[in-house]
Amino acid sequence: MTDKIINWTKSDDAKVEDAIRRGASRRDLLKLMLASGVAVTAGSAIFGRASSAVAGTPVSGGHFKAAGLSSSNADTLDPAKASNGTDYVRCCSLYNRLTVIDGSGVPQMELAEKLESKDAKTWTATLRKGVTYHDGKALTSDDVVFALNRHLDPSVGSKVAKIAAQFAEIKAVDPSTVEIVLEAANADLPFILALQHFMIVQDGTTDFSKGIGTGPFTLETFEPGVRSIMKKNQNYWKPGLPHIDSFEFFAIGDDNARVNALLAGDIHLAAAINPRSTKLVESQSGFELSKSTNGNYTNLNIRLDMNKPEFVTGMKYLINRDQIISSALRGDGEIGNDQPISPANVYHNADLKPKEFDPDKAKHYFEKAGVLGQSIPVITSDAAGNAVDMAMIVQAAGADIGLNLDVQRVPSDGYWSKYWLKAPIHFGNIDPRPTPDIFFSLLYASNAPWNESQYKSPKFDKMLLEARGMLDQTKRHEIYNEMQTMISDDAGTIIPAYITNADALSTKVKGLLTNPVAGMMGYSMAEHIWLES
């Protein structure tokens, strides 16, 4: 047996490492290597090398310091109001939810032991026994009823009030059983309950600044806009977790300052670093990147009710997706095919290919639409990440074939209420959602509140309803595949790429896996990582 490997590069290491992080078994890896022509005998050497980054025996102890990217006086520990990564990280450390999305995008049980339904309309959740809050009280079904029902109260200001509106009735059957009746069948409930907003809090809580939950950490200090410090929950119900003794989280808004703080050794992890800094981090020893594509995207919206259909089609051919990834995103992106379900989602339609960059074809459509020679306003803003760079790329491509795109850059403040959804051609930015149903209901159904291109199709609406209550997965996949094709071909939302998130971390941090929900291991890194001394 030989350990000598030829044609093996650093990027192959990264590929294998990524596969291991995503949960690939030894057998999967051997397949991957056979496919790339590496002799099987060398397999063990590669596996050993790449997995040293992710495997190893957890060590307990240590103070973990991580910096997110935004924090203000609006920071909150109320899961219903949580609105950004900083809030989510804190909520994931203090509380638990009924279900949680695992590394491969599948919901697993957390506070619920079982979540069952025969018709996808009436669900029964059986709660885990022996779970206690930080103050010693036991978890009961009343807490779950309270925690879910409060999203329906408008004075709470819940971010997910729209999603919670489908809860018709939530009642405690006995201290460890909750019955959730939905307005209509929805097979996605296990995904929905895994949203950070549906964390379980104690019945009757009004003051959330104490952060009392059942989660891996207890709150020590919380200063909105400054920082939070948490201590390990000694009575945590998950055996052996968390590994670290304490967890400090704050935000460094300035991109460069965040990277500098990491490189200077002041923090262990800098979340979501700017693509401009990735090279710098990679070139320093002792630091690495954890990349995950979670389905966040910036898209160009062309309202179908204000533009000719030929123009919309032409624009889809005028988008140079590869250039957008390589220049606007500096390589940190996966190519998109004009529909919102990214490869991070189990329902992604991999057979649907992105449209080629084809200026001649685009010109043909523009001639048909009669738009050449006119000045066409395109609204862009820094409010939607990378939208300004993307607009420049499309404008240049248009100029080459005589299409005059008048790119107007407007301020971030007020962009979402003034321009987004309203301007005839504008950019949007959509955060990942857990299920196709939520994406489609929110963005593409005829009555969708954020129908960015005013796409309306009775057939699509019918399919959406049909798939929603369907427990048969094969059938469901088929319907969702077709719906993705319909959006890609007919809607006016051009989604050139799904943006890759890169967290930069010290190599002392071990056990950080990727999660399709978001960076920082789906916001719950503190529960799982350990620090090498």
Partner: protein, 317 residues
């Protein structure tokens, strides 16, 4: 002389109160004119009409603007700063620590920057036209011209990232010893010292040179006064007026205007708090910060005027 100063302080106090009322009124109504309110901003993209209406109701945002203003003003006068719209915490809790941090940074910078700047300003005025004077002038103009974020970022790159002598960000909550304090404050204080001293040096130099040219200084010279006596006893007291005013302006900047330093060093001060408050349209918080900045400015300017009067024999009568 004492009655003169007493009258001045009383007059200043009256003006200060009127100014504070006008400023808080103006800040309140200009903030009200910004698009959106706390409810729409907190809900962000999730702002459906029903959700916004519900949250507005809960936050009492539906009361007329004037009612909310008087509610805040009455509370402020009686010592109750109210609660933040954005997170429902007491404003005094939110501001308390951060205001202390700001004062701490301002105080340390003042202690270092003022003697440093005065010494350089006075000595370069005395040695007017010499090589030393020219070097000081070129350096101060250089520092005025380079924006502070360039100085700060370069310092971070050199001292934190490459040399690793100092932390890249200021963990002011983790100061346990004098050496911690020196390490944490080194870069922010040095950067701020550069920014504020440059102005003071220029102003001091100009004012001292002007008085050195006056007939009474020439008289002192003819009487045979020593060089130091001539400068410190005869020239400086008469130049002090403009110098303390320049000092007051620079120091008031340290209270409200150090947003760039706070951002780069992630220093939890009050300037960033006010910027966040404006972004979330958190009126009670904006108001309180505005009053603090305004009061700080007025206090410093009044002190500067009093010093100018006491030091200047002619103003003293």
């Amino acid at each position: 002389m004492n009655s003169e100063i007493g009258r001045l302080i009383l007059k200043r106090l009256g003006i200060a109160i009127i100014t504070l009322v006008i400023v808080s009124f103006a800040v309140f109504f200009t903030t009200n004119m910004l698009p959106g309110d706390t409810a729409t901003i907190l809900l962000g993209q999730a702002a459906t009409p029903e959700a916004v209406a519900g949250l507005r109701e809960a936050m009492h945002l539906n009361d007329p603007a004037i009612t909310r203003f008087f509610h805040w003003a009455f509370g402020f006068v009686t010592g109750d700063l109210g609660k933040s719209y954005a997170n429902n915490m007491e404003i005094s809790t939110l501001i308390g620590n951060r205001f202390l941090n700001t004062l701490e940074l301002a105080a340390i910078t003042t202690v270092i920057a003022v003697p440093f700047a005065l010494t350089l300003g006075i000595t370069s005025a005395v040695a007017r036209g010499s090589l030393y004077d020219r070097i000081v002038t070129v350096l101060t103009i250089g520092v005025i011209s380079v924006p502070e974020f360039v100085i700060a970022s370069t310092a971070v790159l050199i001292f934190a990232v490459y040399l690793r002598w100092l932390p890249a960000i200021s963990f002011v909550n983790e100061i346990h010893s004098v050496s911690d304090m020196l390490r944490m404050y080194a870069m922010p204080v040095v950067t701020l010292t550069f920014v504020v001293s440059a102005q003071i040096i220029r102003m001091t130099r100009a004012a001292v040179i002007e008085t050195l040219d006056t007939p009474y200084v020439e008289m002192a010279l003819l009487k045979g006064a020593s060089r130091s006596r001539m400068v410190l006893r005869h020239a400086l007291p008469n130049a002090l007026g403009p110098i303390v005013n320049a000092l007051a302006l620079s120091l008031s900047y340290l209270i409200g205007g150090v947003i760039i330093i706070e951002t780069i060093f992630n220093y939890p001060g009050i300037a960033k708090l006010m910027v966040d408050a404006v972004a979330t349209r958190d009126l009670p918080l904006i108001q309180t910060c505005a009053v603090i900045f305004c009061a700080g400015y007025l206090i410093l300017i009044t002190i500067a005027d009093i010093i100018a009067i006491i030091s200047n024999p002619r103003l003293r009568k």
